[in-house]
Amino acid sequence: MRAVVRLVVAWFVFLSLSWVARSARADDLDAIRARGTLIWGADQEGGGPYVYPRDDDPNVVTGFEVELASAIARELGVRAQFFQGNWDKLPDLLRTREIDVVMNGYELSAERAAVMEASKPYYVYGLQLLVRDGDSLDWASLAKKKDPKRKIGVLVGSAADTLSTNELGDAVEVVRYEGNTDCMREVETKKLDATLQDTPIVAFYSPRFPALQAVGAPMAEGHYVLYGRKGETRLIAAIDEALAHLHERGELETLYRKYGLWNDQQKALDGLLGVKSRSAPDAPHAEEPPPIRAAPRKRGLAILTEYGGVLLQSAGMTVLLSVLSFPLAIFLGLLVALGRMYGPRWLKPILAAYVELLRGTPLMLQLYFIFFFLPEVGLRPSAMLTAVLGLAINYSAYESEIYRAGLSAVPEGQVEAALSLGLSRWQALRFVVLPQATRVVIPPVVNDFVALFKDTSVCSVITIVELTKRYSVLSMSTQATIELMILTAILYLAMSLPLSIASRRLEARLDPKRAQS
């Protein structure tokens, strides 16, 4: 019992610490300078050449945006700090002050500029059509109807998505993916006929997908910009100035050449940034090293030795989330169950609603709500705290139902026997009902613990990188999907199997029909 109390205390200390750790963060240019870091948000799952895990150390990100962020930060007199978030949720992270700016291949668009403050462009991209080598498909032929419809893959919500939908919408089926390389692989494996990709991606991944060819010139030129919070004009002005300096000194060109991203389109940057680049635009770069491209696809056991360690670390996060949230879920669940069974009349419908609300809505939505809504009313729990609380609250609904069933399974005669001996209702509950109910609920509760282990993967939506997210990131950057999948599955099993076995043992030990001490 004392150990339990100590655990609960330690837990609350942890919670309050993470709350405090969180409270001072993200403001305007002054805050960035005072803090000494520019926190920029991006999704490493999006992959190269923007932001992707380094081959030699998957815990660290690299990419041209990583280097650009460092350069901009240097111009501002601070350090750059990368913040991982799901690509489509980056504006939300901006709004909740988790990050200072978004920089992740976000194109300039009227919709976005309406809600965020856009910087000047740092890169001019185009959309490139990719088809299988030898296929005689181009944009014009795609626009002609064919039966069955051809399929074109795009990144969901990207400019490519908009263009394809608007221009080809009727003639082809637009298939939306979460990852760029997924589209390219699907073209290779003939599930798609074509994909429309941003030019940097095409440049970077060309060695990975030798079976693909670019057809036609890049279309629908657009601009990548940084986004700050609406109204942060000083910060954005400082960033614009930094970009102009970098361009003027030729550093942008050097950076883009390093990644093989420099092309004629970038000449427009002179006008866009309002400064002339000092490097001669057409100077030959004879002895320049070959550009950084996607590493050749790795296969087999090499994956295990190279990425086993990182995956194991991320499994640690999965374990941490589970062991912090589940005890709380059980505790809350027990309170809810007791409240519903023995509580005052007015409390029962409230608790019933609590349970139904949590069981009837997706966990992901609940996490979003806590993470993105609470900051709007001034509460800013950290991602970790949000994840732990969200999981605990969600699971408390299920645990309370299990406990209710367990408590009801104890015959009324047991309570009466305890009462007739002079025990109070609380003592009867504690010494007679709960121990018997616990026995009944252990198997389903352990079952739920295993389920919770797997549900922690949902936490990636609120910026936490646990095992599944790490798997996605790595599989996106290496394309060693099958190997990583197997490895990840083994890790999940390694966590859940011992639990199931322990549960079966415990169940046997608690079974009065077998216990004979």
Partner: protein
């Protein structure tokens, strides 16, 4: 002393008890007989405060129960410390071994130390012929043994009176005899008891008074000799015949 006056209780629109009067002097035994459904269990549960009633008064060693809502917690606790109950279905705690079943209440309610409670528990088990079964789990015991553990468990609280609801009806005859032997010994030692039972020979030997219930009504009441040998009521005769088999 336990006194029940004009006790009435209706249940689901039906009268389960219609005016029961009963008085048990300290150190004596009252037997309650009646066919199934006559109200014996309901009567005992009312006296133990497990059920509320509609009319009448129950007085048990200074605690008074009145009709309507259940009595206060303190009152009930006081009542139950003086009046123990042994249920027809034993209701042993299945997750505890025999000795823990016995010592739970003394420790939790009276604050007795574990070793003290266990010493008393062992002694009581020996008296019940259950030496050696201290650490057995309830489900490993025969019905007769379980019933004796249930009696010992109630006795651990040193109740001034013990209510027993058909203590032998769930047992085969041999085990029933063991239990009745224990109860007879308790009666000789001056333990006040109210026993709902069909065991007429036990009632004749142990009881000072016999109460006959039929359909919630007390149709007859007197010494065992009066009731058993000279029943005034036709229904009593039927009940006795059924009990004699």
């Amino acid at each position: 002393m336990i006194a029940v006056r004009s006790l009435r209780k209706s249940r689901a629109g039906k009268d389960a008890l219609r005016g029961i009067d009963l008085e048990v002097a300290p150190g004596s035994v009252a037997a309650v007989i009646g066919s199934s459904g006559s109200g014996k269990t309901t009567l005992l549960r009312c006296i133990n405060g497990l059920e509320s009633f509609d009319d009448g008064v129950i007085d048990a060693f200074g605690t008074t129960l009145r009709p309507g809502r259940a009595a206060g917690h303190d009152e009930l606790a006081r009542l139950r410390r003086s009046v123990g109950m042994v249920f027809q279905g034993f209701h042993l705690f299945p997750h505890m071994h025999v000795l823990d079943n016995l010592t739970l209440a003394p420790r939790a309610v009276l604050g007795e130390r574990r070793d003290e409670a266990e010493t008393r528990g062992r002694a009581l088990l020996e008296r019940m012929g259950l030496s050696g079964r201290e650490k057995s789990m309830p489900h490993t015991l025969s019905g007769g043994q379980q019933q004796r553990v249930a009696i010992a468990r109630a006795m651990m609280m040193r109740p001034k009176a013990l209510l027993l609801d058909e203590p032998t009806s769930a047992l085969d005859p041999r085990h029933a005899l063991d239990v009745l032997a224990v109860l007879l010994e308790l009666a000789r030692d001056g333990q006040t008891m109210i026993v709902a039972t069909h065991a007429l020979s036990f009632a004749r030997k142990a009881a000072a008074r016999v109460h006959v219930l039929a359909d919630g009504e007390q149709i007859e009441c007197g010494s065992p000799d009066e009731v058993f040998d000279n029943p005034r009521h036709e229904a009593t005769r039927t009940i006795l015949d059924a009990a004699r088999g």
